[in-house]
Each structure stands twice: as structure tokens, then as C-alpha cells.
Symmetry: C2
Subunit: 274 residues, 2 copies
DNA sequence: CGTCCACTTGACTATAATCAAGGAGGGTGG
DNA sequence: CCACCCTCCTTGATTATAGTCAAGTGGACG
């Protein structure tokens, strides 16, 4: 469900086919798949690929670039429901109602492969391995959202942020990029709208992490310096109780005499995002 | 994917077939479907249908009763990720990994129809309308979780609670029960673990709603008395600014001179739960 | 009649939101 | 090339909200 090739659409040559296609796909099936991908489509930064309420016709595989999905309220405020990277599939939430449930906006200049759902169905029926793969992708999306539910529900802001940074790293690593040094493609505001925090809290947390020596931060460039501490935090250990392997730049005097047992619950057993 | 009948498994006679089966299913297809549902299975209250980590073999349609799905952390605290009623499908999150991601626990004595996934696949391939329906169900689950994400992220506790009560009513109504008077099948603790609140907050909120005259409450018996106010609250209007149509039992003196504009964002555009 | 468990209530506190100013880049136009 | 602006981000002070801790109620059930 992704493709490469400059003129013709060829999933077989795509760098990310491992992500959106099943492994045991024979040539004939691959050819059929190529034939239904009507086109690749460029989406400029900040452009909307589709909007909430629009009739659902196609799903989109991210070919390169990055997207966010958002839902708007009547006052105009946004909640970010997901960030999508190359090889991930957009539009699965629209199958239920036949209309898109969210806006999809490019965070940078991007390209997607358009897959008409009406043609995908019959093809899936004929190619079992493709069907299974498709179900797996949908199931993965369910898992991803479950894990977001978990962390939004009961988890401190600093934990959420730690999970978020680790999760991004993991996803970049899965795509062959560095998992410990990457560029945030989204604004602080987007991060806040995703994690359920205000922009000020996001800022303060990132600064705190930097001052603790856990990350390097320069604008949107992030480097994870102390994965162990971040993971401890993500797992629910209180920030003040974490011994930073790299000593804090501003070594805050510990005032607390006795560590109270961590108050909030539910670390995450799955990755924060797909 | 559901069935009725006392001895033999017959989806065609099931009271909830409209929920788990597509409408345009011919007799032959129905027969095929019946044949792969290996059995109905009784699950006693508090019994686990499956546990997180267990190998995934079958999906389960709730035939009667009610379930919760939970994920556990290492300290033993639970997060509730969903409540499931008759006609809803359990186990979609396990397709991705081949292992269940959560525990499924019966909230009361219940019964499920077991559907081996290995047999469902081929059948779906042969019956397009069934495939489409199945995809719709998965998509619906994604939508449901999106809406939970939305409300966990940015919504005040009282709004969440209002949404939750309204959503339960809607779901009971869809099943032919009263949508304004029903029994909570889950404990306050479960509600809290679902809404991301402590048990104390849940209790206080329910009492507040009752004192405002919005609901009648007696143990787990709930009656929605003032749907309008609940909906206003769910939509983001501040509780103090809502004129209760039924005057509050304890008419709290309004102190606030000027209504500040509501601070939090993101009401919900979709139902709270499936 | 007593015990247990789920729930309620109260007092206090921690956490992150809100309100309000400031920087710091990155781009544009003079 | 520099000045200006605009957006995005940071920082500080204060406050509201829901969490925590600690005692009770009140049914259900033996």
C-alpha cells in the first residue's frame, strides 16, 4: 500500500514496503496492488490531506513526510489524535461511518499513496495474506490508541512526555533513522494537544529534562542522552528519585526526605504510538 | 458473529444480530457463519474470558451480559480500556500481535460466542458484505478509542462523567433497553479507572449530579432526569452556568458574578463509547 | 448481629492550568 | 545587510482542579 518509483507506482521498490505490505506477497499480487493505487499525491506543509466530515473514498499510506490527525471543537480548539510517519496508514477511522472523523495535516512537505477503498476490498478478498496484513494494521491502530488512553488517563505529565520522546525514537529507529537523535516535526502546541497538556507545560517539561541532563534540546532538535532515566520515568518512578547517569546541569538539592510512593498508576506496557 | 438458539448456534435467531452482523446476509452465508462459531461459552461474574499475553485464537461476540477490558501495570493497578455490551466484539486488539493485549473480565454472568479467527478470515474473503462489516466494526473501535482519547486529554472531570452517563444510556437504548434509566454494571472503581479519575472523584461527581437534580442515583441504579443539562455539561459549558430544569435539591448559591469563559477545550463530537 | 466491602465525605495538597510578560529565530522588506 | 515583525517558545506568579490521606456510612450477606 505504498509505492516508490518516480513515474509509475511500484510498491515493490518502495523503501517502506516492509511497513505497509505483508512479507509473503508474490509478484502477481504485488502487480494487482500497484494497479489500484491511483496515484501518489504531494501534500505541502500545513496542507490538509482531508478534513473531518469529508466523504471517505480512499485510504492513504504515508510515502514520505509526516502527518498529524486532529479533531476540532466548536470553539476552534484542536486535539491531536495521532502523528503518522512513513509507511503508516491514514483513514482507517473513516470506514465505520463513510466519512472522515478527523483532519489530516502535513507537518512537512510530504507524499502519500492513495488507495481507493472500493478497490482494496475485493483485492483483500482474493489475497489472504493481504487481508491478514490489513487487519493487523487496523488492530495496531487500536493498540496504539489504547496505549494513548492508558497514558492520558492516569499518568503524570512528565511521564507522558518521557514516553512520547522514547516512542518517537523507537518509531524513527524502525524506519532506519537514528532513534536517539531526531527532529521534532511538530510544534510544542501540537505536542500539548496530543499529550493533553498546555504548551507551557510542554515547554517546562522539556527544559526540565534538559536541565536534568536527560536530553539535549535545541529548538526542535532532540537527542536522548539518558535513556535509562527516561525509561524509569516513563515506567512510573518519580522524577526526583531518578539518579541521572549524566549529572544534572542544575543539580537541584533534594529536599524530600522520604520518597513517597508514586501516586499515579498505569505505566505503559506497549509503545506510546504505533 | 453472534448467535442465539439454545442448543445449536443460530445467528439468524439472535436478538443482537443487527449489531454484529451485516444486514444483507443471505441464508447460505449465514449458514457458513453459524458453522464456524464453535460454541457459546458462559463466563461467570468476575471471571476472565482471556488475559493479557495469552495467545490469540478467537474473537468473542458478547451474547448477553457485560464485560470490561483492563490492562495491568507492574504494581497491580488497573486501567479500564473499555466496557462491552451485547453484540460487541472482543479481541480485535489481539490481531496485530497474535496475543491478547488486555484482560477481559465479565461484570456480570455473561455469555459469548467464540469465533476462531483462522476460520473467520477465509469466510470474510468469500463474503464481501461480511468483510465490509468486519472492517466497519474495527473502524468503529478505532473511533471509540479516539473519542476516549479526546475526552481524557483535555476535558474536565465533570464533563467526562456526563459524557459517560449519556453514552451508556445511548448504548442501552440501541439494545432496546431504557436509555434514561439503567443499572451500572461496574463499580465506582472501574468507572474511575476508565475515566482517569480516582474513586473519590467519581463518587463526588455522581453526588453532585444528584444534588443538582440531573440524575437520580441509588447505589448503581441511575436515572437521567435532566438530559439537557448533562448534554450542556458534556459539550463544555461550565457546571455552575447550567440552569437546571429540575431545580437543584441543594440549590447552591451562585457566587461567581461573571461567567468566565470555559477554560478547557475539546468537547466530543462522537459518542464516548462505541 | 456483626463483618466486610463498596461507597461517601471531609480536610489538605500537589499538579498542571491560567494569566501575563518576555526572548529568540526566521523571514521579509527597505 | 540590517531592522522589523511575527511566530514559536520560555519563564514567572498565581490559582483551580482533582488527587491523597483519613474517617466514616450503609448495604449485603453470612
Amino acid at each position: 500500500m505504498d509505492n516508490h518509483g518516480q513515474q509509475s507506482v511500484k510498491c515493490s521498490h518502495c523503501a517502506f514496503k516492509a511497513l505497509c505490505l505483508p512479507s509473503g506477497l508474490d509478484d502477481a499480487s504485488m502487480e494487482q496492488l500497484n494497479s489500484i493505487i491511483v496515484r501518489r499525491r504531494r501534500v505541502a506543509k500545513d496542507e490538509q490531506l482531508y478534513r473531518a466530515g469529508q466523504a471517505f473514498g480512499s485510504m492513504y499510506a504515508v510515502h514520505f513526510g509526516e502527518f498529524k490527525t486532529t479533531q476540532v471543537n466548536r470553539r476552534g480548539a484542536l486535539q491531536v489524535t495521532g502523528f503518522l510517519m512513513a509507511g503508516e496508514l491514514l483513514g482507517m477511522d473513516a470506514i465505520a461511518t463513510g466519512a472522515h472523523a478527523c483532519d489530516a495535516v502535513a507537518l512537512e512537505d510530504s507524499e502519500v499513496c492513495e488507495i481507493p477503498y472500493s478497490q482494496l476490498g475485493p483485492l483483500i478478498g482474493r489475497i489472504p495474506v493481504l487481508m491478514q496484513h490489513f487487519h493487523r494494521l487496523m488492530s495496531q491502530e487500536i493498540l496504539r490508541e489504547q496505549s494513548v488512553m492508558l497514558f492520558l488517563g492516569n499518568i503524570r505529565a512528565d511521564q507522558r512526555m518521557a514516553m512520547f520522546l522514547l516512542s518517537l525514537g523507537k518509531r524513527y529507529a524502525a524506519r532506519g533513522f537514528s532513534g536517539s537523535r531526531y527532529q521534532l516535526r511538530m510544534s510544542r502546541e501540537d505536542i500539548g494537544a496530543y499529550l493533553g497538556l498546555t504548551i507551557e507545560s510542554v515547554s517546562r517539561l522539556l527544559v526540565k529534562f534538559r536541565n536534568n541532563g536527560w536530553i539535549k534540546l535545541q529548538q526542535r532538535e532532540v537527542e536522548l542522552l539518558d535513556r535509562t532515566s527516561l525509561e524509569a520515568l516513563a515506567a512510573g518512578v518519580e522524577a526526583d528519585d531518578i539518579e541521572t547517569s549524566t549529572p544534572a546541569r542544575t543539580p537541584v538539592r533534594k529536599v524530600k526526605p522520604i520518597a513517597p510512593q508514586p501516586s499515579r498508576v498505569i505505566p505503559i506496557h506497549a509503545a506510546v504510538a504505533a
